[in-house]
Amino acid sequence: MLHIVNKSPYERNSLTSCLAHARQGGAVLLIEDAVYAATKGNAAEAAVQHAMQTLPVYALGPDLEARGVQAGVIDGVKIVDYGGFVDLVAEHRTSQSWL
């Protein structure tokens, strides 16, 4: 399953809840304000690092760039463009949005 998160980890618990339910074989895609979780040195980094031990974590490039944080992405988080977003949705049997 592809888990899509779009809220900042400081505004809502969407990422925390998502990571508590994501299973091996799935993937996590951070978009919109959730891309802040993909940056180094932030309080959510440990949770993202832990998740990456079992799941690939992606972040949407255009949302990183819009917010000026593209240079500080955590090592191992894969940056995708809109085409990559579509590929991820197509690769997984289901997707779930965590609002």
Binding site: M1, N13, S17, H21, T94, Q96, W98, L99
Partner: protein, 135 residues
């Protein structure tokens, strides 16, 4: 048979496909429109004879609290609708135990019979679905 009749039958054939839908409720009831909108979509899905289940986790568990009174707010109290879901053959209501415990809510305070499941069991249920729609 006319061509129109054939097309209608063809459409009926498409509707006969039953998928497993899960609606995931993670928001408290009156602060945003999400909970009410979720109920609307649940009833539509049930009308199409789909295999519908509802999940309540995080603040979504507040949707099921007994004793909601919205008169002073002048908004519709939609909480009785959860009790009516059974009439639409929507009987799979799953509530996450960790979310109840974090909010100090006991199952006896909920307004409808539910299955209380752990976060791990909820994750399993999510994996079994064809379609997951989050609110």
């Amino acid at each position: 048979m006319t061509q129109v009749a054939e097309e209608i039958e063809g459409e009926a054939g498409v509707q006969a496909v039953v998928k497993k839908f899960m609606f995931v409720n993670r928001k408290a009831p009156y602060g945003t429109i999400y909970a009410l909108e979720a109920l609307e979509v649940v009833l539509i899905s049930a009308a199409f004879d789909q295999d519908v289940s509802l999940a309540f986790l995080d603040d979504g568990v507040y949707q099921l609290l007994k004793g909601q009174q919205t008169k002073a707010l002048e908004v519709k109290n939609f909480s009785p609708t959860y009790r009516a879901l059974e009439g639409y053959d929507v009987e799979k209501l799953y509530v996450e135990r960790e979310s109840l415990e974090a909010r100090g809510i006991d199952e006896s305070q909920l307004l409808v019979p539910v299955q209380v499941v752990s976060a791990a069991e909820m994750a399993d249920l999510m994996e079994q679905q064809d379609i997951i729609i989050g609110f």
